[in-house]
């Protein structure tokens, strides 16, 4: 009887483990890390070092790194990643990962109401005429990466963008 009991418990525990492992693999994973960018000049060259941005000071540059990984067995199409620019920071121009072969980079200056390829433009009425002006990067509110094709099974992509603490 003892042997039977042991076997039964073993089987049950295996089933439990299997079920847990399958549950984990049904969704993509998204992680966000923030680093403080520390620039110093060494031998006449600017070298950047990174430290976990647990605390910063006004004027510091923070680099956000978004990692999207797909641990599932299937590719995920229409994979769109949104990264807000926190209100107490401003986006640094051209700092967002812009790997055209991997993803399309878009930006919004109106809290995601509209997205377009940076540099962003907008129309205003000036002296009764509609004119187009370039939106300053420090007015950007959100970034968006649209992964080309799909986030393939087992694939991990990383996107970066920098902001300056006000």
């Amino acid at each position: 009887m003892n042997a039977i009991k042991t076997t039964l418990i073993l089987v049950l525990s295996m089933i439990g483990t299997l079920a847990l492992a399958q549950a984990v693999k049904t969704k993509p994973e998204l992680t966000l890390e923030s680093y403080r960018v520390i620039s110093e000049i060494v031998n006449g060259k600017t070298v950047e070092n990174f430290a976990k941005a647990d605390s910063v000071k006004p004027g510091d540059t923070v680099e956000y790194r978004v990692k999207a990984s797909n641990p599932t067995q299937a590719g995920l199409p229409n994979f769109v990643i949104d990264l807000p620019i926190p209100s107490s920071t401003t986006y640094l121009e051209n700092s967002a990962t812009n790997a055209a072969s991997v993803a399309i980079l878009l930006a919004s200056y109106d809290r995601k109401k509209s997205f377009a390829t940076p540099p962003l433009k907008r129309k205003i009425i000036k002296d009764g005429k509609t004119v187009e002006e370039t939106v300053k990067p420090n007015e950007y509110t959100d970034l968006r990466w649209i992964v080309r094709g799909q986030l393939k099974a087992g694939q991990t992509l990383e996107f970066k963008a920098r902001v300056k603490v006000k």
Binding site: L30, V66, P77, F79, I125
Partner: protein, 958 residues
């Protein structure tokens, strides 16, 4: 308390630079979270979020104190230091140095303050120290030490908003014994209190120089611009005042002006600022000068010539303070210590001056030091007034935003291509009676475009909110930019005096009721915030924008229908049970796109209609039936086929008018009808069935059942008449409409009474059963046959028809042959009653045969037991009974009055039974018979022709 004006200016400048960008407050948590959307394997949208990345903002410390100057070297860094601010004072006075502390931290800090003075006579000219220098909290930040403002040694600053500052004053006394040209240098040092200890600002040098001379001050003030309702101009009042703040008298400048002759004196000279105009008669002035004081004027901006009366123009206003001997060309005492002087005048600026235009003015006073040789020009502080910002707008008919509107204008809408002519009238801003723009007429279902002009009637660039204030109920109006196609958005920004054309599109709904006096009104408002203006756009009359034509498609077969409006009716003649086609054309003859409902009236009863597209124009239906057209643009033509189905029993009709109508779905009053005709042929037909035949006896009667049907398409008036036939037969004809079908009963209607018919009506498509009763008189010969034709004659609504049946009746007479034989010719009576003797028995055989041509009914063969004989029990039998029939032997004991299927019992009472029904029995068989029955034959109990039965029984001779 000197040079207040300069100090004030300095403070403004300090405030101006005090604003700095707001930093993120210490301890702020910057939280961020990325999100992603994607499609899962089932194609469903999903969302996932990252962790939340949290970054905490740390405190940064910093502050500035201004004005600073630059630090030198040596003790206290005084040697060679340049002061940030310098003042001239006289011995015995108090000097006030205003400073501003600005907190540039992202948190609150405390700044500790201290003072240090340069000591000793040195190369920087420092000759004395200020007495009891202290730091005061300049609570109202006016740069002056006011009553109640207390001394401090530190200043607590809490960062609240950009530009958060604290004003302080460093004040110190100048000893009364201080000689002229004395100098004191002082520095304000500071450091942040923990935790901001690392922040310091120790470079805030200041200097005071001591005079021993005349010192004329000149402070200038300017009022806010005030509207002079009389002139419509804004007026600024300038005030100039000053005093000799020195400790010696100020002397005149020889020939400071020449008015006719050279005049010695002290002159205040103030140019009229650009864009402003001196207000005639506004200048007044006075002074404590030893000589006469006069207001003087110059027509030149440089003030090269002066006049005692107002010049044209007045380019400068001055105050001439003469010395005691103004014509001697000598510099003499003119303003003693403490003497004062004032000059006031007004300038005006037009209301059209752009808002917030700076009007800058600075005056100067010219005099000589007490030494009588040094010319001194002291400028006043600079005052800057700003022109009032007037925000107002006007809106009116196109090109006429203000004033009286008149004339006509036209505009072609770039979107619809429609052109409009406007009639303008009324008076717009600023009077603001009704100004309006009128379009005379427009069709329903269209958009009427108005153009209104907005003007910035203010003096500053402003964004005006343009809106539709009201529009007649049932209509809508929308605003567009000047291009006529882009929505107006949030507003129109215009420079002063600029115009902008706003396009107003008034939608006239398709269902609008045409009216010559619709007077649809849209009120458009331009709002400048504090004021606004409206204008009114009016559409006077509405015509119907919808129009449709339906006509026969008379171009078949063809590739395209005719575009004319040929309305020659199509006349179709057909039989019931058929389908006919009416090829039609529907054309949108209105100015707006529309769809049309298709309806029909006047169809002959029972007929139905369905509309189909005729896409290939062949006059035949294509596709599924429709009840409404698709959208037809103006002038577009649609080919249709109306398919009319005539049912099989349709009543005849002659050129029945059928109205094919098409009606605008957006405006039911827009409709058109084409009337075509349909003739349904009359069908006259009666069906009378079946032929019947029967045989009857003579006399005899038979009833035949027929069915008469009206197969025509109208009611028939029917008469039924038998034709000629043999004598001896009579005919009565009934409609079998009584209670019992197939039988003539009380309810049936006699329609032929033997001599003449009675007509009756038979509805199209219905039937009625007919009963023909044939009666034969007695005495007719067997096999007499009457074949009689019954004719049903029907009169229809148009024409007539008839049908016949033939009833054949044959006379069959009854002929039953009976042959009776006995088995012996001799028999011997029984010897005694009760004896059995075979020799006494006689057996009879009776053969009954139907020798007639027809069947017999209810055949009964009777035979009495012969006299002197007795029936032998059990001897009776019958054979040859027809198949299906029953031949029942019955017995009577009373001579044939009553009958029984069983013989009475052999119940001899006086001796033994002998088997004979004799007088020893209680009763005696007197007769026997055989009854032939057949419940299922026709007629009942039939004894067919040729049938024969054989009956035998035995008797005993008594």
């Amino acid at each position: 308390m000197k040079k207040i004006g300069i100090v004030t200016t300095l403070l403004f400048a300090l405030f101006g630079t005090a604003a700095f960008a707001q930093t993120t407050a210490a301890t702020t948590q910057i939280s961020n979270q990325a999100s992603a959307t994607y499609l899962d394997s089932l194609g469903n949208p999903q969302t996932t979020n990252s962790n939340v990345a949290i970054t905490v903002v740390q405190a940064v410390y910093g502050y500035t104190i201004t004005p600073s100057g630059t630090a030198g070297t040596g003790t206290g860094n005084f040697t060679g230091a340049l002061p940030g601010q310098t003042q001239n004072q006289i011995p015995g006075s108090t000097v006030n140095f205003p400073y501003v502390i600005t907190n540039t931290s992202n948190t609150g800090i405390t700044v500790n303050l201290a003072l240090s003075q340069q000591t000793g006579v040195n190369t920087d000219g420092d000759t004395f120290d200020l007495v009891s220098p202290l730091i005061y909290d300049d609570a109202n930040c006016n740069g002056q030490l006011d009553f109640g403002e207390s001394a401090i040694t530190s200043s607590a600053l809490t960062q609240l908003a950009p530009g958060n500052v604290k004003c302080i004053i460093v004040a110190g006394g100048i000893p009364g014994s201080t000689p002229a040209a004395g100098r004191a240098n002082i520095n304000l040092t500071s450091s942040g209190a923990a935790p901001a200890a690392a922040a310091t600002d120790n470079v805030n040098f200041a200097r005071v120089d001591v005079l021993n001379d005349a010192d004329l001050t000149l402070a200038k003030t300017a009022s806010a611009p005030v509207l002079n309702s009389g002139s419509g101009l804004f007026e600024i009042t300038y005030g100039l005042s000053g005093t000799n703040a020195g400790n010696l008298a100020a002397k005149s400048k020889p020939a400071v002006v020449t008015i006719g002759t050279a005049i010695d004196g002290i002159l205040i000279s103030d140019p009229i600022p650009a864009g402003a105009t001196y207000v005639t008669g506004s200048a007044t002035g006075s002074s404590g000068a030893v000589g006469t004081t006069s207001v003087v004027y110059s027509s030149t901006a440089a003030g090269t010539t002066w006049s005692l009366s107002e010049t044209t123009p007045v380019a400068r206003v001055g105050l001439l303070m003469r010395d005691a001997t103004p014509g001697d060309g000598l510099s003499t005492n003119t303003l003693s210590v403490g003497a004062t002087y004032t000059l006031n005048f007004k300038v005006s600026i037009p209301a059209s001056t752009p808002g917030l235009t700076p009007i800058t003015n600075v005056a100067a006073i010219d005099y000589r030091n007490n030494n009588g040789t040094t010319n001194v020009t002291v400028p006043s502080n600079t005052v800057t007034s700003t022109s009032p910002e007037l925000k107002s707008t006007a809106i009116g008919p196109v090109g006429q935003p203000v004033g009286t509107a008149s004339g006509t204008a036209s505009y072609t809408d770039p979107v619809s291509g429609l052109s409009f002519t406007y009639t303008r009238s009324g008076v717009g801003a600023p009077t603001n009676t009704l100004d309006q723009e009128v379009v005379a007429t427009a069709p329903s279902g269209t958009v009427v475009t108005f153009v209104n002009t907005v003007r910035n009637t203010g003096n500053t660039t402003q964004t005006f909110n343009i809106s539709v204030q009201s529009v007649t109920s049932g209509y809508s109006a929308a605003l567009y930019q000047s291009d006529g196609s882009t929505g107006l958005g949030s507003g129109v920004t215009l420079a002063p005096g600029a115009d902008y054309n706003v396009v107003v599109k008034l939608t006239v709904p398709a269902g609008s009721t045409p009216s010559a006096s619709a007077n649809v009104t849209a009120v458009i408002k331009s709002d400048a915030g504090t004021s606004s203006d409206i204008t009114t756009d009016i559409l006077t009359a509405i015509t119907s924008g919808q129009s449709v034509d339906i006509r026969n498609n008379d171009n078949l077969p063809g590739t395209a229908p005719l575009t004319g409006t040929t309305n020659t009716p199509i006349a179709i003649t057909t039989n019931p049970g058929t389908t006919v086609y009416y090829p039609l054309t529907v054309q949108n003859t209105g100015v707006v796109s529309d769809t049309y409902a298709l309806t029909t009236s006047g169809l002959p009863s029972g007929s139905t209609v369905a509309y189909y597209l005729d896409t290939n124009g062949d006059g035949l239906p294509d596709g599924a039936p429709i009840t409404s057209t698709a959208v037809l643009s103006p002038n577009q033509i649609l080919q249709l086929v109306a398919v009319v189905t005539v049912p099989a029993n349709a009543a005849p009709a002659t050129a029945a008018p059928i109205s094919f109508t098409t009606t605008s779905n957006s405006n039911p009053t827009s409709t058109d009808t084409i009337v075509n005709t349909l003739t349904i042929n009359a069908i006259n037909s009666l069906l009378f069935t079946p032929d019947r035949n029967s045989s009857i006896t003579s006399p005899g009667t038979v009833v035949y059942l027929h069915t008469l049907t009206n197969n025509g398409n109208s009611s028939a008036t029917v008469s039924l008449t038998p034709g000629a036939g043999l004598a001896g037969f009579t005919y009565l004809i009934y409609r079998d409409n009584g209670t019992t079908p197939g039988v003539i009963d009380a309810g049936d209607t006699l329609v032929y009474d033997g001599t003449s018919p009675t007509t009756f009506s038979l509805t199209a498509g219905t039937s009625t059963p007919i009963l023909v009763q044939v009666s034969a008189i007695a005495g007719l010969a067997d096999a007499t046959t009457d074949a009689r034709v019954i004719t049903a004659s029907g009169t229809f609504s148009a024409g007539s028809a008839s049908a016949t049946v033939t009833d054949t009746t044959k006379i069959v007479l009854g002929k039953l042959d009976l042959q009776k034989t006995a088995n012996t010719a001799t028999a011997f009576p029984r010897t005694a009653p009760g004896v059995v003797a075979s020799t006494s028995e006689i057996t009879y055989t009776i053969v009954a045969t139907n020798l007639g041509s027809g069947g017999l009914s209810n055949v009964i063969v009777f035979d009495p037991i012969p006299t002197y004989t007795d029936f032998k029990f059990g001897s009776a039998s019958v054979s040859g009974c027809p198949v299906g029939s029953t031949c029942q032997i019955q017995y009577s004991i009373d001579g044939g009055t009553t009958w029984s299927n069983t013989a009475p019992a052999d119940s001899n009472t006086t001796g033994t039974s002998n088997g004979y029904s004799d007088n020893l029995d209680a009763t005696r068989v007197t007769n026997i018979r055989v009854v032939v029955t057949n419940a299922t034959s026709t007629p009942v109990n039939l004894f067919p022709s040729g049938a024969a039965i054989t009956i035998t029984f035995t008797v005993s001779v008594r």
